[in-house]
């Protein structure tokens, strides 16, 4: 597939998304084209982080267990998410910052907090979230406020 550059099927997947959901509903394992040549699936990274792969100074390694392969994207490489001209690639948008560390511009997970529909958005990268809290950043649902409320 890579040697023959046969990537039509990747767009078929995105086409099916739009046909079925009216938009590209793929949120992770979102295919990217590397250096204008190779198409790759950066799973399990959410598509939110796809743009960060472009020209990244870091060496990026992806393990593809079932294929028994490791994919590597060298530093400062062009990485473009596949899309359609009339349905351009979009990342998820969050209306509120992380409930614990108040970070913005990071990928948030929705966490259900009780049986009555209560939920909160917290950093998906828990390590980074903890570091930020250690540095004194506080979100509106972080521990101290909960303790204060009790």
């Amino acid at each position: 597939m890579h040697a023959l550059e046969e990537y039509g099927l990747m767009h078929v997947k995105l086409y099916e998304d739009i046909a079925g959901h009216g938009r590209i509903a793929t949120t992770y394992a979102y295919p990217v084209k590397v250096e204008g040549r190779y198409v790759m699936d950066p799973s399990p990274t959410p598509k939110f982080d796809n743009p960060k792969m472009h020209m990244s100074p870091a060496l990026q390694l992806f393990g593809a267990g079932r294929e028994m392969r490791i994919y590597a994207v060298p530093p400062f490489t062009e990485v473009v998410s596949l899309d359609f001209e009339d349905h351009p690639f979009e990342i998820q948008h969050f209306t509120q910052p992380c409930a614990l560390c108040a970070a913005t511009g990071v990928y948030l997970d929705e966490v259900i907090s009780d049986d009555h529909g209560g939920h909160m958005f917290v950093c998906s990268d828990t390590d980074n979230c903890e570091e930020r809290r250690a540095e004194g950043h506080r979100g509106h649902l972080s521990g101290e406020e909960l303790e204060a409320a009790e």
């Binding site: 040697a3 023959l4 550059e5 046969e6 990537y7 039509g8 099927l9 767009h11 078929v12 086409y15 099916e16 739009i18 046909a19 079925g20 899309d83 359609f84 001209e85 009339d86 349905h87």
Partner: protein, 258 residues
């Protein structure tokens, strides 16, 4: 019409070990011409088709194709990438069993659109409009565009497979028993549709069939094969109305007259 053929076949042979697939086949195919290859099961017609369409590598002989840039290329010397590119742009292949030529688990629209996307069409609206247009041309209702071919009848699947192949405007289409496995009234409609499309688009086609009626309706010329050899070739009406070889006479006379 062009003054050069589209395809030149010289001395094509295919052996499976010691067993003969087909041997010493030579012919030329012209743009817009439909050639039928007829013969009984095991006569080597499918082997020949697979060699011509580069699915099989022949044991000897050559097949040259005139590319869109007017350059003649020997098909068996193309790189795999070039061959695949040719197959998804300038050629079509209609399988007898539509499930072999379709993606059964993606929608009809995506089946038609796949080739467009493979050659770089990146506009969803355009792909969808083209798919709707092609479904209409093969008489599939536009509201079935998001259904999977699994839910289609045999005749619809075959028509969808034809649309999927023709969407990139190929110049040459290979068909392996395109009406096999369909009931008679559906066959008639499909043949009618194919004849219309072939005429309208100026397609060249090579059709393998054991059904002489298919050859009669669709083809301009035909070749009769027996035991891996072409035993008779000529204009379809001539071969069917005035068969010269005893075997062809037998074939023609064994059609049931209703």
């Amino acid at each position: 019409m062009s003054e050069q053929p589209l395809l030149r076949v010289e001395g094509l042979s295919k052996y499976y070990g010691n067993r003969l697939g087909c041997t010493d086949v030579s012919f030329e195919l012209w743009p817009g011409e439909v050639l039928a290859i007829v013969g009984e099961s095991g006569s080597g017609k499918t082997t020949l088709l697979n060699c011509l369409s580069t699915h099989l590598e022949p044991s000897s002989g050559r097949t040259e194709y005139r590319m869109r840039d007017e350059v003649w290329r020997n098909l068996y010397e193309l790189s795999e990438a070039e061959r695949r590119f040719l197959m998804r742009t300038d050629w079509g292949f209609v399988h007898q069993n539509p499930a072999d030529g379709l993606r059964m688990t993606v929608s009809a629209g995506a089946n038609v659109g796949e080739r467009l996307m493979a050659v770089g069409d990146r506009h969803y609206g355009h792909i969808r409009d083209t798919a709707v247009d092609w479904l209409g041309r093969v008489e599939i209702a536009a509201d079935r565009i998001d259904d999977q071919p699994r839910s289609f009848s045999g005749g619809m699947r075959q028509r969808l497979q034809i649309a999927r192949n023709l969407v990139t405007g190929p110049r040459l289409v290979f068909m392996d028993e395109p009406t096999g496995g369909l009931d008679v009234s559906v066959q008639a409609r499909l043949l009618d549709l194919l004849r219309g499309l072939v005429g309208e688009l100026g397609l060249a086609a090579i059709i393998v069939t054991h059904d002489l009626a298919v050859a009669r309706l669709l083809s301009h010329r035909m070749m009769v094969m027996k035991d891996g050899r072409v035993i008779e070739a000529g204009l379809t009406d001539r071969v069917l109305d005035d068969p010269r070889e005893p075997y062809t006479q037998l074939l023609v006379s064994s059609i049931l007259q209703v």
